[in-house]
């Protein structure tokens, strides 16, 4: 982060921050202003989570924190000490695809793919919340994830397919 390069950080010490990321306990040493997003990308080597706007406006940085979808760019990592985080890297076992990942491929639900990790984590969170039943409700409750390639229609198609499958299971 720019501040770390331009301001002397010697006055403020790093502090231990414990997170369980995708089932693996991580002990990080972070300055208090490091966002959860930067903690994942820059300090944990998990670059699947994307930085779009860094201001809460696009949803690209969505992760699941203690079971809920949140924006990692507006979360301070230190405030999440002790939390369990799931990122796109952790939604399916190594080598396997999550049903939403399969559906996104089938429905051509991306072009550049930059919004995709956030879209999928957000959709997982939405299904867990269980509030969206109709297509209109899914659209409304997925509106926090922008896709600048305009794949939105296919994204909603992919989510609806997985949602209908889980209803029938």
């Amino acid at each position: 982060m720019l501040t770390e390069l331009t301001e002397p950080t010697t006055l403020k010490a790093s502090q231990p921050v414990n997170l369980v990321v995708n089932g693996t306990p991580l002990q990080l040493n972070l300055l208090p202003w490091v966002s959860l997003l930067d903690a994942l990308r820059d300090y944990s080597g998990l670059t699947g989570t994307k930085k779009g706007c860094d201001h809460g406006q696009c949803g690209a940085c969505t992760v699941i924190c203690d079971g809920k979808r949140v924006l990692s760019c507006l979360s301070l990592a230190i405030s999440k000490d002790g939390s369990e985080i799931t990122t796109i890297e952790g939604i399916a076992p190594e080598g396997d695809l999550h049903p939403l990942q399969k559906a996104f491929i089938e429905h051509d639900a991306f072009q550049c793919g930059y919004c995709t990790p956030g879209q999928i984590c957000s959709a997982i969170g939405m299904m867990k919340e269980g509030k969206a039943k109709t297509r209109a409700e899914v659209k409304e409750l997925m509106s926090g994830n922008l896709c600048r390639c305009g794949a939105n229609t296919n994204i909603i198609d992919a989510i609806m397919e997985v949602q209908n499958q889980s209803v029938h299971e």
Binding site: W33, D54, V70, S75, S122, S143
Partner: protein, 339 residues
């Protein structure tokens, strides 16, 4: 973001003590507004006191008076989807769900929502004058692009609007804000919580330095039979209101016993005009009377070059939303127009 010291509070007493230990300190709740403002370098606290692990005020419960107490640290999402809120205060539920996005509502807290700052573009641009950000520097919005600005209660110093949706619902419901501070606790009627800019636009509300919001109390009547929230904006979701309306009606057949109408997106605080509500009492619930009430509510409205359209928009939104309140089942996700 500036360097700051991070402290975690375990109780309200602890938070008050940590906050008063000198310097320029801020409380941290969901962080969705504060962290954003810090990233823009518009707020530079040297200490953050994290309220998220304070014991208490994380619940929603019924009060002995028959109302509902919303803990300050409950998230906006948990509040909107709480069974008692959905059943007894669906107007509040709709208003919350019309704001921000699902992820942000999972983070944002009830206390923080009341204290979010304006979305005036010039407030966010540190390179231009803004009386709210830098008192005495001038207002860039008055001569600038003022599409999203206020039409009611403006001053020569500031024409910004308060952007919350939840607070429009709380204003209509006559909520009370409970706070604890260095000198004790007090309760603030919702109508007195936010303020008009006057010549001190840097002050958004009547909370005193160091005070912590601990809860928001809803009175027993939640207008749960006839209610509606309508939010009009430049895109259908995940955008701030140009105009929003919260309506609650108590009906005897088709005669109005009591009406509540609050507007968002038009002023420095949620806008309610008692005279219009009194006018509606005893009248039949129809578009003619709602239109007359709208005229009373918008009396004194002043438009600026790019937002004068909001005056007519607000009037029509009031009528439409009151008609929607007669038929709450027709409402669409995201507080969109349905009749």
């Amino acid at each position: 973001m500036n360097n700051f010291t991070y402290k975690r509070a375990e109780s309200i007493e602890d938070a008050l003590a940590q906050n008063s230990s000198g310097g320029n300190s801020s409380y941290l709740a969901g962080g969705t507004n504060l962290v954003d403002l810090m990233k823009y370098d518009l707020t530079r606290p040297d200490t953050l006191v994290d309220l998220n692990r304070v014991d208490g005020h994380h619940e929603i419960y019924e009060t002995p008076e028959g109302g509902l107490l919303l803990g300050a640290f409950v998230t906006n999402a948990d509040t909107a989807w709480h069974p008692s809120v959905e059943e007894r205060y669906p107007l509040l539920s709709k208003a919350i769900l019309a704001g921000a996005s699902a992820q942000i509502r999972n983070m944002a807290t009830n206390g923080g929502n009341l204290l979010q700052r304006t979305r005036c573009y010039y407030f966010y641009d540190a390179n231009v004058p803004c009386n709210k950000r830098e008192p005495g520097s001038g207002c860039s919005a008055i001569p600038g692009y003022n599409r999203i600005m206020a039409i009611l209660g403006t001053s020569e110093s500031c024409i910004a609007v308060f952007p919350s949706d939840m607070c429009v619902g709380l204003a209509a419901l006559d909520a009370t804000v409970h706070v604890e501070g260095p000198t004790g606790s007090r309760s603030i009627p919702f109508a007195d919580f936010h303020r008009l800019p006057g010549d001190t636009p840097e002050i958004d509300n009547t909370l005193l330095p160091g005070e912590i919001i601990t809860g928001i109390e809803l009175p027993a009547n939640g207008f749960s039979k006839n209610y509606s929230y309508l939010k009009l904006r430049d895109r259908n979701s995940y955008a701030f209101a140009l105009v929003s309306v919260a309506t609650g009606l108590e009906l005897d057949g088709n005669v109005i016993r009591e009406a509540r109408i609050a507007l968002g997106g038009v002023a420095h605080k949620p806008w309610r005009v008692r005279e219009a509500e009194e006018f509606l009492a005893g009248k039949t619930a129809d578009s003619v009377h709602f239109g007359q009430a709208a005229e009373i509510i918008l009396r004194g409205a002043v438009g600026f070059p790019h937002n004068a359209f909001k005056i007519e928009l607000a009037k029509r939104a009031i009528v439409r939303n009151c008609m929607m309140a007669l038929n709450p089942e027709s409402q669409l996700p995201g507080a969109q127009p349905s009749v």
